[in-house]
């Protein structure tokens, strides 16, 4: 996907510049942007190191494990038909908490494991095949609705480009995320009501 988008942007840019006679601007644009990426990363390095350092403490202190357990009622509500003790539950919980805390590196592996476990669950139910189960749909819609509470990356980008209050978006972002997630939950519950 990205191969296509990336190539498309560059080819389109150069062709359009050739048509409008802005080739020298494109030369500068390409070189400046590459340099800018480096200075952006320096700002990001600070924010990311701070965040990941804190999260490492949270992990060592057992806070993350505690959070993962704490969302069991939520899992029971969203995924009532996954049997208790099924490993899909554990992976889903890990994925959700990693999402909430913005631990991108931990989301995807747990998410993929969760999908595999859900596929096995379908087999156990005697419905193997290439059709998504209700649980898979719910899990993915939740993931796409974004669960992240503190948008660490956005804060870093904002501070790099001179925002007066980079962290000022936290509360409105939480509010917007809540709305999109609630919409996702309601939609999934309605759809899940009609069993497959």
């Amino acid at each position: 996907m990205l191969n296509f988008i990336w190539a498309f942007m560059i080819l389109l840019g150069v062709i359009y510049a050739a048509c409008t006679g802005r080739m020298s601007e494109v030369t500068n644009g390409a070189l400046d942007s590459a340099g800018e990426a480096i200075s952006l990363c320096i700002t990001m390095a600070g924010v990311m190191a701070l965040w990941m350092g804190l999260m490492e403490i949270a992990k060592e202190a057992g806070l993350i494990e505690k959070l993962t357990k704490a969302i069991t009622p939520f899992l029971n509500f969203m995924f009532p038909r996954i049997p208790k003790g099924h490993k899909a539950r554990e992976y889903i919980a890990t994925n959700i908490i990693a999402n909430v805390l913005g631990l991108g590196w931990a989301c995807t592996p747990a998410g993929l494991k969760a999908m595999e476990a859900l596929a096995e669950l379908e087999k156990e139910r005697g419905k193997p095949g290439q059709i998504a189960s209700n649980e898979m749909c719910t899990f993915l819609i939740l993931n796409i609705s974004s669960l992240q509470l503190i948008p660490v990356n956005m804060i870093a980008y904002r501070s790099q480009y001179g925002s007066a209050n980079p962290a000022g978006i936290i509360a409105p972002a939480i509010f917007a995320t809540l709305c999109s997630t609630i919409a996702a939950i309601v939609y999934c519950k309605i759809k899940d009501g009609g069993h497959r």
């Binding site: 990426a37 804190l54 403490i57 999908m115 796409i144 980008y157 480009y161 509360a171 759809k191």
Partner: protein
């Protein structure tokens, strides 16, 4: 809005206090652990550096070619009806496919309009409350070997739509 701004100010200090305090009480060597995590964080940044260079370069080329002005003019009728700034539409579309490509556009918006402008604020919120639809679906469903995705896409689009509308409404209230 005042309350929301105030909440934003206190969340990070409270979080830091709580995590470090909880760590100490639990007998974790907090400082050493922090350093270990910070090192991992730096590694994450180094890992995404090439991606950022590639994407910012691509967006830089597009911007310099004047293509965004053309796109803005072409989208004018649509953005007038929807009452959203023209920069938001390409961002929304790209974001559905790739969040890192969207990041390139975000940085371009921040650079040219400023992160605290109306457009900048919509962008900040939009990126915080939605995820990449097609990328997530393709990677996750591939892991489960699923090809029929049923109602996932409509649900994902619905929640993205709600997030987008909320971002625009909130941004309009924050940036007067």
């Amino acid at each position: 809005m005042e309350a929301l701004t105030h909440l934003s100010d206190i969340i990070i200090p409270i979080l830091i206090f709580y995590v470090v305090g909880y760590g100490m009480v639990s007998g974790v060597k907090v400082y050493e652990t922090f350093l270990k995590g910070a090192k991992d964080g730096l590694r994450v940044v180094v890992d995404i550096l090439p991606t950022l260079i590639g994407l910012m370069m691509a967006v830089g080329v597009l911007r310099a070619s004047g293509f965004f002005e053309l796109l803005g003019t072409l989208l004018q009728p649509l953005t007038n009806v929807l009452r959203v700034p023209s920069q938001i539409i390409p961002l929304l579309i790209v974001k559905m496919f790739s969040s890192s490509a969207a990041t390139g556009l975000v940085l371009d918006i921040f650079k040219n309009m400023g992160p605290d402008s109306y457009v900048g604020m919509i962008t900040s919120l939009l990126m915080s409350c939605t995820e990449t639809i097609f990328y997530t679906m393709s990677v996750y469903f591939l892991a489960a070997k699923v090809t029929k995705t049923r109602y996932t896409l409509t649900g994902a689009l619905l929640s993205t739509l709600v997030g987008t509308v909320m971002s625009i409404l909130l941004a309009a209230n924050i940036v007067k």
